[in-house]
């Protein structure tokens, strides 16, 4: 029975995904209504939502196909898959909705279903994460709702169609704050690394790969469609917050031992990179640097796409590891690539893509961002020059540390000897899992190597966002029709020559050299190979723990940037030192998010104190008095309303 329910829900999610993948393509740019009892729900497919709908539907299909097999882990809980179906539908409908009530209904549905999915494991860790997530996401909803209410007061209409170019700085700030809480921007990120990893892995993939994109969708709609153009400092603020978020996220991703936590922190990093693109683009569109605006926005949107694909693949991969080896602690894994060779290749490609190794797609987005930052550094506008220099520094640091973090993740999990029996007895991967994982990975490769059709499609979206002020496709047009000379030429600033990058040429070059090297070494070398054990300094002991550990791998970087971590480590060992490897050496290390320690905990304390104090004042047994409080707050609300209507 449970099995039947499970498969029904999963196949429903797949068909919902397929429907929303195909439906926008056959009837684009249409408005349609659904009449329910109190009011009509309005939906419209415009160029912005079509991109996000297709993205969400596509990734949801991959993840749903993946969960066909993965659902065996949750045999007893078919409701997870029902919630998953609701979650996917609500995300798609948020993006499609075209009035504020519809938007808020589905936004809230999305938040609630994801909350129930976060706590579905039922242990104390997931409950704690769920509480934090519930709190944060509702604070976010408060901000978004107030932004919408202000918009309503300004335009006295519920429909998005009447909101064009009316949002002032207050509304933009409220909306950006609200969506940033969902996306996990720097001061508001604390819930993300708790909530994403504890959910079931396919849900983590949905949350990390897709749900954050819904927040990005909201920001794009507010900044570029609802927003008045006239606040360059908002763009600079987003740029620098994004750079700091990226740096902070990847710094924390590097030191985690939990695979899913690493991935969650890497989501924060990628959100930061997307914000950098959006902020720079908004600044440039306000100041009139059209090409920088287009390039930066292209970088942001490409990165949304890349991150959705590679992060969902990685989370699915972590689900497979968790299911087959029963642990997500990389210090207990190791040597998995011998058991699951095809899967490990897929995982490696996804990891390479997210750590921006050329010629995969992750690099493409970052390349556009670099190009636009270099352009912004030449504008002679006093502040953006310095902020873009700082951003280049932070972005390059982020890029390197991302490489280190994913080399660590892959190397410690998949390479070397088995670190524990769990890894040794890991089961093999199934066919469906491999197939579902290979779709996003294949897309990563294809977008990385042959991005030209995609870029011209995205050019249309960008020119829609800039209301035709700039034609995205025209600037980013490919040179010629031959894919080898068809580069991605960008001229960001008037005197600056073209920056070019030809992914096809890159991969061709690599393949040529690989072929030549293989031929040369086949002919010139002695072809003999011998298998022998790894050198162990001549010691007799066969000690699995003697290989390098994950925490060792990140030690050097952690030590240099010790100010960014809040760590507590302890080492215990027996004093018998006759052997090289001491018998009982226990090294324990606790790394916590420095923001959580330094900001959230004190804040919690103060809020508790303040609310205790308030309740001690207002708590009363007098009926009349408490009624008067209710009445007074009502009056206060009316006054605030009058003030806002002004």
């Amino acid at each position: 029975m449970n099995g039947l329910l499970r498969y029904t829900f999963i196949s429903l999610s797949i068909s919902a995904g397929l429907f929303f993948l195909i439906f926008p393509l056959i009837s684009p740019y249409k408005e349609f209504y659904v009449y329910t009892v109190p009011f009509a729900l309005t939906f419209k497919i415009d160029r912005l939502s079509i991109f996000f709908v297709i993205l969400i539907a596509l990734v949801s299909i991959f993840i749903s196909v993946f969960s066909l097999k993965y659902s065996e882990e949750y045999k007893e809980k078919p409701h997870i898959f029902f919630l998953g179906l609701l979650f996917i539908l609500s995300m798609i409908l948020v993006v499609l909705s075209y009035d504020m009530v519809t938007f808020l209904i589905f936004w809230e549905l999305m938040s609630l279903t994801s909350f129930f999915l976060v706590i579905s494991d039922g242990n104390s860790e997931s409950k704690k994460a769920g509480r934090l997530y519930f709190l944060m996401t509702h604070i976010g909803t408060v901000f978004i709702t107030s932004a919408f209410v202000l918009l309503y007061l300004k335009s006295s209409s519920l429909s998005f169609g009447n909101y064009k170019d009316i949002a002032g700085i207050l509304i933009l700030l409220l909306a950006v704050t609200g969506f940033s809480i969902k996306a996990g921007l720097l001061p508001f990120h604390a819930w993300l690394p708790h909530a994403h990893p504890v959910a079931p892995s396919h849900i983590s993939a949905l949350m990390s790969g897709v749900m954050v994109n819904v927040a990005i969708y909201g920001i794009l709609r507010f900044l570029f469609i609802f927003g008045l153009k006239g606040y360059p400092y908002l763009g600079i603020l987003l740029l620098i917050l994004g750079a700091l978020t990226a740096f902070f996220g990847i710094m924390n991703a590097l030191v985690q031992k939990d695979i899913k936590k690493t991935l969650a922190f890497s989501t924060i990093e990628n959100i930061g990179i997307i914000y950098m693109g959006i902020g720079l683009s908004y600044w440039a569109s306000v100041e009139g640097y059209k090409i920088i605006a287009v390039t930066a926005l292209l970088a942001a949107i490409l990165h949304v796409l890349n991150h959705a694909l590679s992060k969902s693949a990685l989370f699915m991969g972590s689900g497979i590891i968790l299911k087959n080896a029963h642990t997500k602690n990389m210090e207990e894994l190791g040597g998995l690539s011998k058991k699951m060779s095809f899967f490990s290749v897929l995982f490696l490609i996804a990891a390479m893509s997210i750590s921006a190794v050329p010629p995969l797609n992750g690099f493409l987005g970052e390349w556009y961002l670099y190009v636009s930052l270099i352009g912004a550094a030449q504008t002679h506008n006093l502040y953006i020059v310095y902020f873009s220099i700082i951003s280049i520094a932070l972005l390059s640091l982020t890029g390197v540390i991302a490489g280190a973090a994913f080399a660590k993740l892959y190397g410690i999990t998949f390479l070397g000897k088995h670190r524990s029996d769990k890894a040794k007895n890991a089961a093999k991967t199934g066919l469906i899992e491999n197939i579902s994982l290979s779709f996003p990975v294949l897309l990563c490769i294809v977008i990385g190597i042959y991005p030209y059709p995609l870029i011209s499609v995205l050019g249309g979206l960008i020119s829609y966002l800039f209301r035709g002020l700039v034609s995205g496709g025209g600037i980013l047009r490919a040179f010629g029709s031959n894919p080898f000379s068809a580069l991605s030429p960008v001229q960001t600033y008037k005197n600056y020559s073209y920056s070019m990058y030809s992914p096809m040429l890159f991969i061709t070059g690599i393949l040529i050299f690989l072929g030549l090297a293989a031929m040369f070494f086949k002919i010139a070398s002695n072809g003999k190979t011998r298998k022998y054990k790894t050198w162990d300094c001549g010691l007799e002991e066969d000690n699995k723990a003697a290989q390098f550990s994950g925490s060792g791998f990140s030690y050097g970087i952690m030590r240099v940037f010790s100010t960014f971590y809040s760590t507590a480590s302890e080492i215990k060992f027996d004093t018998d030192v006759k052997k090289y490897f001491r018998k009982d050496t226990v090294y324990s290390e606790e790394i916590s998010d420095i923001f959580e320690m330094k900001v959230y905990e004190p804040l919690k304390k103060y809020i508790l104190k303040a609310s205790n104090y308030l309740s001690s004042i207002f708590e009363t047994e007098n009926m009349n008095l408490s009624l008067s409080y209710v009445f007074l707050s009502l009056v206060l609300c009316v006054i605030i309303y009058l003030f806002l209507v002004g």
């Binding site: 006093l382 502040y383 310095y386 240099v560 100010t563």
Partner: protein, 209 residues
């Protein structure tokens, strides 16, 4: 000429940054000598550029005092005391170097805000002298040894000289002499202080309260 002047001016800043990046006292003194040499050469370039004879004098006394005499005294003092070769500092070396970089960025913003048409070779020199000034101050604040305070002080002095010499006429020679003698006296007094502190075997590092 102006390109070379720019190079020398930038090297003044670079040697200040290097000073922030090295914990060694001896290297710091050598860097100071190098910095003063660059200052002298820069003065020479200004002299050639603006045809001001008094700046040639300035060039030679800078060489005499800052490149030769003061480092000589400092080395002598260093030999007489057996201070640790490395200086302790409040913040780590990479942090202080990055701080130096941020101070440079900051002073560039300030320099671009303030129009300084009276300075030879444009506002770049103002940037460099301000940045060197700030880095010198930072060295004095963050380092714990008395020696590094002297080096920081001398760096600040070089920064002020750089700005002073860049005003098209330069400072009056008599003022320059006065400042240089003051500087020499300060270094001598500080050297005596270091030796005496060592003799009375008080703690070698200054206590920051």
């Amino acid at each position: 000429m102006d390109k070379f002047a720019e190079l020398f001016a930038v090297l003044i800043l670079v040697s200040a940054v290097l000073n922030a990046g090295s914990p060694f006292i001896e290297f710091g003194i050598k860097l100071y000598a190098f910095q003063s040499l660059m200052l002298a050469l820069y003065t020479l370039m200004v002299a050639l550029h603006s045809n001001t004879p008094s700046l040639y004098w300035s060039f030679s006394i800078t060489i005499l005092f800052k490149v030769i005499t003061i480092p000589y005294f400092l080395f002598k003092t260093l030999k007489k005391t057996d201070i640790k070769r490395e200086m302790d500092s409040v913040i780590g070396i990479p942090e202080s170097v990055v701080l130096a970089g941020s101070l440079t960025l900051l002073s560039n913003i300030i320099a671009e805000k303030i129009i300084t048409s009276v300075i030879a070779f444009g506002s770049l020199i103002f940037t460099i002298s301000l940045a060197t000034f700030l880095i010198g101050a930072m060295l004095m604040i963050t380092r714990k040894t008395l020696f590094s305070q002297i080096i920081g002080f001398l760096t600040i002095d070089n920064a002020i000289f750089l700005a002073g010499n860049s005003f098209t006429r330069g400072m009056p020679l008599i003022v320059e002499f006065g400042v240089l003698f003051d500087l020499l006296a300060a270094v001598l007094i500080l050297s005596l202080l270091i030796i005496n502190i060592k003799k009375s075997s008080i703690n070698k590092t200054m206590k920051h309260n």
